[in-house]
């Protein structure tokens, strides 16, 4: 596990270094590596897939333009997650403001989240996808990012702790609390999927 952790961080370090030297393909490799995590973070804030993809793309472009500000390349995933969540907040605010400017009744953030969802994998029904996304969305902020980094990006608690600059013990406790909440709230879906 320690070797894997070191390899992962060394890989990020090299990719960031190459991207800063102007190799766009290196940044493309960063996008490939973290696309699923960034998309999941966006989808945990805005359920509309097209909007989430826009947010993910904008997040990567912003990250590229500000790559010089990344103090510690071994914390690339944590840095990307912060940028993505900020882009999500900006997007939600912009959507509400545009609706107001057009004279429409402002859609609440909750209502925006309830818009239709699409996903690549047909295993779950649309209702189930919406239910799962809403459940993840309802998690406290400090739990949500950890769940996504663990389940979607596949990072271990040790790696998440490194990325977010937290103690491994803190991450472990929060991950288990989040897991318990999800297990309880998603119990009906898990039963449906299993049967």
């Amino acid at each position: 596990m320690a070797v894997e952790l070191e390899q992962n961080m060394a890989g990020d370090h090299q990719l960031v270094r190459a991207a800063l030297l102007g190799e766009t393909s290196a940044f493309g490799a960063i996008v490939e590596k973290y696309w699923n995590m960034v998309m999941a973070l966006a989808l945990s804030k805005v359920s509309d897939t097209t909007e989430a993809e826009d947010i993910a793309q904008e997040s990567f472009l912003k990250a590229y333009s500000q790559l010089i500000n990344l103090r510690d390349p071994s914390r690339l995933a944590g840095w990307l997650s912060k940028i993505t969540l900020q882009q999500c907040s900006n997007s939600l605010r912009r959507t509400i403001r545009n609706k107001r400017a057009l004279g429409c009744r402002a859609t609440s953030v909750k209502a925006l989240d309830e818009q239709s969802a699409m996903t690549a994998n047909p295993g779950l029904t649309q209702n189930q996808i919406q239910f799962v996304r809403q459940t993840v969305k309802n998690l406290p902020d400090k739990f949500r990012t950890m769940i996504i980094m663990r389940f979607v990006a596949g990072l271990s608690t040790v790696q998440i702790a490194e990325q977010l600059g937290k103690r491994p013990g803190t991450v472990r406790v929060r991950l288990h609390r989040a897991y318990k909440l999800l297990r309880k709230d998603l119990a009906p879906i898990l039963e449906e999927v299993r049967s």
């Binding site: 996903t119 799962v132 998603l186």
Partner: protein, 240 residues
């Protein structure tokens, strides 16, 4: 029962992503024989799959990478800021030579202008390990020695002497490496005065809430009316 306790620990390790291949094989082997552990392990796998699937995208990671690279090639303005400077920074020997030359020029200039021997001023760009967390609304930052206010960006790092200004209905969070945080509330102005063993802020007006991880070093928030020293872990300072 004691045997199952061992496998429940392994399931926890599986959730944490810290299980070794050998332990995983052992867990799978046991789950085939034990109904209770099998149910728990399967539920755990299913939960992860369901969350992953619900939060997946139609665009594959490869497509996304290619698409971003294409955009970067089409729009050269998107290249990383100060890329040339970073090139120097990353090229070991050249960085040392460049730093030596700059230092020599600096010392010469200092001597010529009669400033040699005076205590060195803290560099304007001294970055400290405090990052900008969540930003809601419009929060501006001004670096020491500059008159330019910039929008605060989440994920960026704070510099010594930075002044933070939050407008109405705007808040932001500063995050320390030890998980301590400072929330700057609306209509507030806060200055980072020192970060050298002890942390010292100056709250000119408005309100800020500090949540410090214990144990923490000396931590002060000065105000126009006096100094507040952190003894506990969570407190709010208001200057009207």
């Amino acid at each position: 029962m004691k045997t199952c306790d061992k496998y429940k620990n392994l399931i926890e390790k599986y959730i944490e992503g810290t299980i070794s291949e050998g332990q995983l094989a052992e867990l799978k082997n046991h789950a085939e024989k034990c109904d209770s552990c099998r149910a728990q392990f399967e539920r755990c796998i299913l939960l992860q799959d369901v969350v992953k699937e619900a939060l997946s995208s139609q665009t594959s990671a490869e497509q996304a990478g290619a698409s971003i690279v294409a955009r970067l090639s089409e729009e050269p303005n998107l290249r990383p800021a100060h890329a040339r400077f970073s090139t120097i920074l990353y090229s070991g020997k050249r960085a040392a030579i460049a730093a030596g030359i700059l230092l020599a020029i600096g010392l010469l200039l200092g001597f010529v202008t009669g400033r040699a021997g005076k205590p060195a001023r803290t560099p304007l760009t001294a970055q400290v390990p405090i990052s900008v967390g969540k930003v809601d609304g419009t929060v501006l930052v001004k670096h020491e020695g500059s008159n330019v206010w910039q929008t605060m960006e989440s994920g960026s790092y704070v510099h010594l002497g930075d002044t933070f200004h939050s407008s109405a209905k705007s808040v932001c969070r500063l995050e320390f490496e030890d998980e301590s945080t400072i929330d700057l509330n609306q209509n507030s102005m806060l200055v980072l005065k020192s970060f050298n063993g002890q942390t010292q802020f100056f709250l000119e007006h408005g309100e800020c809430t500090a949540a410090l991880e214990s144990p923490h070093g000396p931590f002060f928030i000065d105000t126009p009316h006096g100094r507040v020293e952190a003894l506990g872990t969570e407190f709010t300072v208001t200057v009207e």
